[in-house]
C-alpha cells in the first residue's frame, strides 16, 4: 500500500480545439473505507488555469493553500495574471523544493494561454511528486486510476474536438476508467475551459 493510494482519487486533462478540459472524481477515502463523496481536488487558479491535485489528501489541502498564496504574491508583484506555462514552473519548483521529503501529490493542470499575436492556445501539463514536468499535446492523467485512464483516453481522444465534444469525451473517459478502480469514483466533476468562459458540470456517476 503506497502512501499515494491512502485516500484515492484521479484527475485527467485533455486538449481540444481552442479549449481544454479537466475532470476528477469526488471520493475521499481512508484506504478502502470511503469517508466523503464531495472532496474537490480541482481548484481554479485564475479564470484560465485549473489545477488538479490527486494524491495524499492532507497535501492536497496544504498545496492548494500554498499555491493560492504564491499565485497571489505573483499577481501583486507582477501586476498581471500568471500564464499557464509560468504556473507550471511554479508548481514544479514548489514541489522540487521538497525533493527529499516530498508532498505526495501528482498535479495536473489545464489552461488557456495567450500567444504574443493576441491569440489563445490550449495548455495542459502534469508533474510527478517531485515536480518533473510533462507537457502533452493530447491528454495527461494522474491518480489511483491513472493506468485505466490511459487506456480509455487512448481509445476515445481525437484531435481538434469542440468544447461540447471534448466534454463528452473526457466525461466518458473518466467515468469508464473510474468504474474499474475501487479507490476512485463516487461522483465526478468536469471543467471545460474556453477562451472566454468555463463550463463546470458534475456527472451522475455510479456511487458504489
Amino acid at each position: 500500500m503506497s502512501i499515494m493510494d491512502q485516500n484515492g482519487g484521479s484527475v485527467i486533462a485533455m486538449v481540444g480545439k481552442d479549449c481544454v478540459a479537466i475532470a476528477s472524481d469526488l471520493r475521499l477515502g481512508n484506504e478502502a473505507l470511503a469517508v466523503s463523496s464531495n472532496f474537490q481536488k480541482i481548484f481554479p487558479i485564475t479564470d484560465r488555469i485549473y489545477l488538479g491535485l490527486p494524491g495524499l489528501a492532507t497535501d492536497v489541502t496544504t498545496l492548494k493553500e500554498r499555491f493560492r498564496f504564491r499565485v497571489n504574491m505573483y499577481t501583486i508583484k507582477e501586476e498581471r495574471e500568471i500564464e499557464p506555462e509560468t504556473f507550471a514552473h511554479l508548481v514544479s519548483s514548489t514541489l522540487y523544493e521538497h525533493r527529499f521529503g516530498p508532498y505526495y501529490v501528482e498535479p495536473v493542470m489545464a489552461g488557456i494561454s495567450k500567444t504574443p499575436s493576441g491569440g489563445f492556445k490550449p495548455f495542459i501539463a502534469a508533474t510527478d511528486l517531485i515536480g518533473c514536468l510533462n507537457y502533452a499535446k493530447d491528454f495527461v492523467v494522474a491518480g489511483t486510476a491513472s493506468s485505466k485512464l490511459y487506456g480509455v483516453a487512448e481509445g476515445l481522444w481525437e484531435p481538434d474536438l469542440e468544447p461540447e465534444d471534448l466534454f463528452e469525451t473526457i466525461s466518458q473517459t473518466i467515468m469508464n476508467a473510474l468504474d474499474r478502480d475501487a479507490y476512485s469514483g463516487w461522483g465526478c466533476i468536469v471543467h471545460v475551459l474556453t477562451k472566454d468562459k468555463v463550463i463546470t458540470r458534475t456527472l451522475k456517476a455510479r456511487m458504489d
Binding site: L28, S36, G101
Partner: protein
Amino acid sequence: METSFAITGKGYVIVAADTTASRSIIKMKTDEDKVKTLSPHLLMAYSGEPGDTVHFAEYVERNIRLYQIRNLYPLRPSAAAAWIRRALATSLRSRSPYSVNLLVGGYDTASHDPHLYWIDFLGTMTEVPFAAHGYGAYFALSLLDRYHDPEASLEDGLIALKRCIRQVEERLVVTPGKYKVKVVSKDGIQEIDL
C-alpha cells in the same frame, strides 16, 4: 476500541465519543470525556494515541480561546477547523507528530447552519454530513448512509445515533460501552444523557 460519531441535522450537530480510557487490553477508566468544548458553538471529539490526544486537544482549546480574547469574537467553525487541520499537517512532518483523529462540529452563528469536519492525524480534512472514527466507523458510516437525514429533528438525530451505538455493540468484538453525547445548536452546547 475507541469510537466516535457525529451527525448533523436541522440546526444542530451531535458529537458523541465513547468514555473508555484504555492501555493495551486494560480499561483504566470508563468515564473519560473525550468531547471538548472549544467555544460556545464548537465541539471537538478526539481519539488516538493516549497522551497526544489530551495534549493536542488542550493546545487547540487554548489557541481558540486566545483568538476569542484577542479579537473579541470567536472563530467560525470553518476557520477553526482549517486552523486545527493546519496544526496537524505541520505536526505530521515534524520529529514527533501528533497521532490524533478529530471530529469538529460547530454551529455557525453568522450563517445559521451546522458544520461538521472529519479530520485525521495526517491533516486530512473534509466537510461531511455525518462522520465517525475508529472501528465503529466501519458499521456507522454504512448505517448512516441509509438512515441519515440532514433535515431531521434532534429527536430523530439521536435515534440515528442510538442505531449506530447499538450496531457497534452488536457486531464489534470489543464494544466501547458508555458514550458521552453533546449537541451544538444555536442555543450553544448541551450534554445529553442517552
